[in-house]
Symmetry: C2
Amino acid sequence: MTTIDLPLVDRPETGAVAGCCAPAAGDVVDPAAARDLARQFKALADPTRVQLLSIVTAHEGHEACVCDLTEPVGLSQPTVSHHLKILVEAGLLEREQRGRWAYYRAAPGAVAGLVDSVSTLMPSPATASA
Amino acid sequence: MTTIDLPLVDRPETGAVAGCCAPAAGDVVDPAAARDLARQFKALADPTRVQLLSIVTAHEGHEACVCDLTEPVGLSQPTVSHHLKILVEAGLLEREQRGRWAYYRAAPGAVAGLVDSVSTLMPSPATASA
DNA sequence: CCGTCGTATCGACGGCCATCGATGCGACGA
DNA sequence: TCGTCGCATCGATGGCCGTCGATACGACGG
């Protein structure tokens, strides 16, 4: 579960305030969808996790074990494991246990899902035609 | 200043641990760049802010004033202003004061910048060819 | 000139999060 | 079988963040 398809709901036409400008216009994201999307972004809202993603994807074979990640980020091993767990739960990384080591790899389609979500959120003429 | 160009630094070849797998491979994001990128994502890491972005972009003329945003998200006016300020500081929204009202609009290029950052962070064969 | 309206800022409070050391658990080597 | 190694989990702690009411400030109308 990596991509969020962002259901758009019709604004219920409040018809109240509207003393300054147009009351509403089109479709906005569902509150539940906003919550899910924010959760994905929250996984990226930490410098350590951004670094971890970068290191993993830049690593040989696009995978790395925890022992390779502890030193570059300069944090303790429990903290790194904690961040990796968050990235896995967000669908950005995948975990595979091979023998004694746990290998982390970029989840396929994670980037595409994120990009799609952003484009749906803020449709820009240069990014999305919708 | 919306886009972050993510300078890639050569890993300094630790040469130490490396008992389990390859020590390193290529280029990772600079810690400072990771911090800046995380700050951008942090602006999107809140359901309210995601909703605000969606409402503003879906609004008539792609702009909205605070009074139009308070009711849909169901929060107090100071809280909404607080979130809007964060979105502006992140380069995702632009603020323009016209008369008594403050109009917010999606910053041009914000989406493209974010998409580019994500693609640079996690180069995927389906998203980026670099 | 004064009242009202729309927003931003301030100060406070509650909750979540990043970080750590200590510990538990499974896997491998001797 | 026992020690060691790699990693996840636990419990605690300090700090940041979202939220609010109260308040200040600029703009417009009368």
